[in-house]
Amino acid sequence: MRKLVIAISMLAFAGSAAYADPIKDRQALMKERGKLAGEISKMVKGETPFDGAAALDALKAMQANAEKFDVDTLFPAGSDKGDTTAAPKIWEDMAGFKAAEDKFLADTKAAVASPPADADALKAQLNTLGGDCGACHQTYRIKKS
């Protein structure tokens, strides 16, 4: 039984090592953030009517996304190579990068803790969260051709 457990866990480990693609994983999380920001923005701009419950759902999803964003797993050493726009600065200043991510997580929690009452309140929250996106992308992302 013990051997079986070890064998299974070894298999699982090998599997994750062979198939994990941190670049794809982190890009998927970033894409989801963008999609959620888009949903919120539609309400802020009045393209869809303000819906407090839907706004809160989007903010909660944003928080869940931020909680899944484990920097150590998603940005292992060496993952600056390949099809990525992650800047080398991430690995030079890991503490600063993590702090930027932590601020985003804290701001999503704050937004969820005070559900927006109207489109203006939601707009203020989106400005804060969007500012976090920009603050991180300013330093830790490089546009490549």
């Binding site: 920001a37 888009g38 701009k45 400005n127 996106c133 920009g134 992308h137 300013q138 490089i142 051709s145």
Partner: protein, 315 residues
């Protein structure tokens, strides 16, 4: 051997003439008397708009400054370029370390001609090649607004440039090739006012072309590839193509562009990044009309494919 003596003599004379000509051609040129006579006191409230359109704080505030600290124009950022490292100076109202002692004429001469009060050429890292297209009254308003900003003591370090770029005088020759108050994009009669207003903001105070246009070997902007995107002059990576050509912003509507400048979100909800983050903060301070004008102009400029090489296969 008389012919050789003559040849050497001729060479010396020619070389001397070239040196004399070069000396005169490289002389810093200030404002002409007619322009100076038109200078009038500006309006600080109006100048605030020009300050944000020009993005002065992006380069001249202390690196990483947030909030009100962005109005403390103490300098000190390092712009690392192929020519060397440029350090934007203190342009706060400090009389000794900044520009507090400058007259309006001094300021206009710097903005329009790239010449300092002591008669030296500024390096075009200070984008006077764009500011040269600005209206005199906007310069006056900007001067008035900057008078309301704090004086902050402290000299920024000098530029660190290698030969021959460390010779300021040489910039005089460069200016003869690249400094012009004429618009980059000629627009036909009957062009909507909105597009003309956008051209002024983009080509003049906004100085968008300084980063978004590729440069030639001498560091001059390639006007034939205006706004086509470029390898970043500073740092690494590329600056995107903002024409509607291949690789550019063809899929963006004018509303998309205006929204990006206001909120920092692209149409597919990616966010602003790199050096554009500071620029977008400034653009967010403009009026909705100004952002709409910029968008209208960008959709009207000639289209170009990307002004930078295609990505190499993933390494």
């Amino acid at each position: 051997m008389a012919w050789l003596k003559k040849l050497v003599g001729a060479a010396i004379v020619l070389g001397g003439a070239a040196a004399v000509a070069g000396w005169f051609l490289s002389a810093p040129v200030g404002l002409d008397a007619a322009t100076v006579s038109q200078l009038a006191p500006g309006d600080a409230a109006r100048g605030k708009r020009i300050f944000y359109a020009g993005g002065c704080t992006s380069c001249h505030s202390k690196p990483g400054a947030q909030g009100d600290a962005r109005l403390e124009l103490v300098g000190g950022l390092e712009l690392k370029t192929p020519f060397g490292t440029f350090v934007p100076p203190n342009i706060s109202q400090d009389a000794k370390d900044g520009i507090g002692a400058w007259s309006e004429e001094d300021f206009a001469t710097a903005m329009l001609k790239g010449v300092s009060p002591s008669g030296e050429n500024f390096y075009p890292a200070f984008p006077y090649t764009s500011y040269a297209r600005m209206k005199l009254e906007d310069i006056a308003d900007l001067y008035a607004f900057m008078k309301t900003l704090p004086a902050v003591a402290g000299k920024a370090p000098d530029h660190k440039l290698s030969f021959p770029f460390n010779i300021r005088r040489g910039i005089g020759l460069w200016k003869r090739l690249y400094l012009s108050p004429e618009p980059v994009i000629a627009l036909p009669d009957g062009t909507p006012d909105k597009v003309l207003a956008g051209r002024y903001l983009v080509e003049g105070p906004g100085h968008c072309g300084e980063c978004h246009t590729p440069r030639d070997l001498a560091g001059g902007v390639k006007k034939a590839e205006w706004l086509a995107g470029a390898v970043a002059a500073e740092g690494s990576g590329v600056v995107p193509n903002i024409t509607s050509g291949e690789g550019g912003i063809k899929d963006w509507s004018e509303a998309d562009i205006a929204n990006y400048l206001e909120t920092g979100f692209t149409p597919d909800f990616d966010s602003v990044g790199g050096a554009m983050v500071e620029v977008q903060k400034n653009m967010a301070q403009l009026t909705a009309d100004d952002r709409a004008a910029i968008a209208a102009y960008l959709k009207a400029v000639p289209t170009h494919p990307n002004g930078y090489p295609a990505r190499k296969p993933a390494d």
